[in-house]
């Protein structure tokens, strides 16, 4: 990572214009999404061949839905990783958010809108705390968020048990505002025989927004710079600390968003859930071409990564295979992506040396 490279990145939309037509193919080949796109296509074709029951609009709708439940969180996790940090609390933070909506509203007998807003505050605060602690202490984000992961996992259970007397929340489907929230976060509509869940639409919209943020705004350049080489970025005036705190809060925001889906779609929340998913979010981002070391990646890649896991998770069942193989698949895809990314990074380094 040379300083000139990083120095150029914060310059808004500077080198973007230099692209000329004959570079088109090379630009395509160097996209972080490429490997995952090819893998996703191959995987889909394989499963469509071996699983006849998957070849229907309603089956593909289920695959898309399952992908979207991974993909929404993967967007925020991907941005954070491009910014150079991890969040291991992302999986349980989703459940924390869902529990908060449910319990605050039910126990205090508040309108669900109020509960939803308060839960958003809690989720953002968790992100803020993660980011602030990281910035202040300089402890690796892996450790900061690992601590948060354990704390939230314990708090989810402890608080739920203390408040409701059980380890799951009450059914909130009869409460004021439920129908509206369900329409926003957990409705569905039919188009061309597809049963599209609204999360799929949100997944796409949020991915496009994240792409725009990353590739078309100054903040996007800051994110790349902060993840590539924080010290150099700081030297040229990038507000690295604020960017990183913002990225952690972004994870909090989408954890709230997906938590809202879980609570409105499934009406009650099991307090012990969510753990393990943080690694799937990270894996989706990595499979999509995001580098673990930061500074490189793409939300569209993360989207494709999430789709790969959705196809694998449901396809294995459609094909009548043993679902235990899903984890083998997850590991294998991750390995492939890592190897591919290693190539990409090696090329990047060579380019700079020469």
């Amino acid at each position: 990572m040379s300083e000139t490279e990083v120095g150029r990145s914060p310059d808004p939309a500077g080198s973007e214009k230099k692209k000329s037509g004959n570079l088109g193919l090379r630009v395509f080949l160097a996209r972080p999404e490429l490997g995952s796109f090819l893998a996703a296509t191959a995987l889909l074709v394989i499963f469509l061949i071996i699983a006849p029951t998957m070849r229907s609009a309603k089956s593909l709708s289920t695959v898309l839905y399952d992908s979207s439940t991974i993909g929404i969180m993967a967007i925020a996790v991907c941005l954070l990783m491009i910014g150079g940090e991890f969040d291991l609390s992302a999986g349980v933070a989703v459940v924390t958010s869902a529990l908060t909506v449910s319990m605050i509203s039910y126990q205090l007998n508040l309108h669900l809108f109020v509960g939803a807003l308060l839960a958003m505050g809690v989720s953002l605060a968790i992100g803020l705390f993660n980011g602030w602690l990281f910035v202040k202490t300089k402890i690796h984000s892996f450790l900061v968020t690992l601590s948060m992961f354990f704390m939230l996992r314990g708090a989810n259970l402890g608080i739920t048990k203390a408040v409701t007397g059980e380890v799951a929340t009450k059914n909130i489907s009869e409460m004021g505002g439920f129908d509206t929230l369900r329409a926003i976060f957990a409705s569905n509509f039919h188009i061309f025989g597809f049963n599209i869940r609204i999360t799929v639409v949100w997944w796409i919209v949020l991915t496009v927004l994240a792409m725009w943020l990353l590739e078309r705004t100054k903040v996007g350049n800051w994110i790349f710079a902060a993840g590539g080489d924080a010290d150099s970025a700081r030297a040229v005036g990038v507000p690295v600390d604020k960017v990183k705190i913002g990225l952690f809060m972004g994870v909090g925001l989408l954890a709230w968003f997906y938590g809202m889906h879980r609570v409105t779609a499934y009406t009650s929340v099991q307090a012990g859930e969510g753990f393990g998913n943080e690694l799937i979010y990270i894996a989706a981002a990595v499979v999509g071409g995001t580098l673990l070391t930061g500074g490189f990646g793409s939300p569209i890649g993360a989207m494709i990564g999430a789709f790969i896991f959705g196809v694998a998770r449901q396809g294995i069942v459609y094909a009548g295979l043993d679902p235990n193989w899903y984890y083998f698949f997850l590991g294998f895809m991750l390995l492939l992506a890592t190897i591919f990314n290693l190539y990409v990074r090696r090329f990047a380094t060579q380019r700079k040396v020469s």
């Binding site: 990572m1 490279e5 150029r8 990145s9 973007e16 692209k19 090379r26 630009v27 080949l29 160097a30 972080p32 490429l34 490997g35 090819l38 893998a39 191959a42 995987l43 394989i46 071996i50 699983a51 006849p52 029951t53 229907s56 089956s59 289920t62 399952d66 439940t69 259970l157 059980e166 380890v167 799951a168 790349f224 779609a265 499934y266 099991q270 012990g272 859930e273 490189f296 449901q314 294995i316 459609y318 009548g320 295979l321 043993d322 679902p323 235990n324 193989w325 984890y327 083998f328 294998f332 492939l336 992506a337 190897i339 591919f340 190539y343 990409v344 090329f347 990047a348 380019r351 700079k352």
Partner: protein, 342 residues
Amino acid sequence: MIRSIRTLKGGRLRRAAAIAAILPLALAACSSGGAGDEDDNGDGGGEGTSEAGDPDGDLTIAMVTHEAPGDAFWDRIRAGAEAAAEDLGVTLRYSNNREAPEMATLIDNAVDSNVDALAVTLAYPDAVSGAVTRAIDEGIPTVAFNSGDDVWQDMGLEMYFGSSETVAGEAVGDRLNELGAENVVCLIQESGAVQLEARCDGAESTFNGDFEVLYAEGTDLPGLEASLTSKLQSDPSIDYVVTLGAPFAVAAMDSLENADTGANLVTFDLNEEVAKAVQDGEIEFTVDQQPYVQGYLSVLMLYLNVTNGNDLGGGEQVLTGPSFVDSENIDDVIEYTSEGTR
């Protein structure tokens, strides 16, 4: 950063891309081979070739559970279901996820696949009710088993095969009273599991002495063993420990030995080691809900329902437990535990 990579030469990248594209093919071959062996247990149909929706030909019965992968208890449920599928010549499609939303999606998956019949566990009734309703609306005969004894009728299901966790817990409380227990610890191996809480709550409700719940991580048996040992050492007046699953009873036996406070052990569920310990008198008794029967009955009754219009239970739940195994009847049971069917 990203811009510098965009101007790379494409050759080696292309090769890496080719590798990325080809390897999943190899993987798929690998995974279908592995699960193909599994299919042989169920039926000769092979994966993906079954004519779903054709009652004269090969029936496909889907089973969706909240199993956390790799649990001996669930292995018995699955063994029962697979044995029934083999005996009856139907295809069994088993899938599981321990998280409620993902489990609901797996039920959708079964409905999408037009399976002929469906068996589900109802550990998360609110979360899966939508998917179950959809299955019923699509005309797929559906039964519940293992968990959800208080909700299955409300969901419009016709049959339930399982044991009531609360009733089983209460029976344990009664037995502990008979044994003269005074201070009991109930060890829950998975925090946040409703059905496990119900067992301890049931036992507490009928037990007369002191009763306390201890939580530990069932995925970390050495940690669980250590937690229980510390608990016993810190309170030597504890005279009975209740564990809620066979592997945890085995770990608890080490705790009892290490703490050496003279506490006794009772447990839920059976496996080969627990059966041996009951025979040797190290475990006073075990409460078996007969998971093999739950799996077998679910598949059998769905088969009879689809092919012959039968139902079982007369609208009430069909109880597979609690079945007590102690020194008096262990000799009749022990040979089957080593076969993984009881």
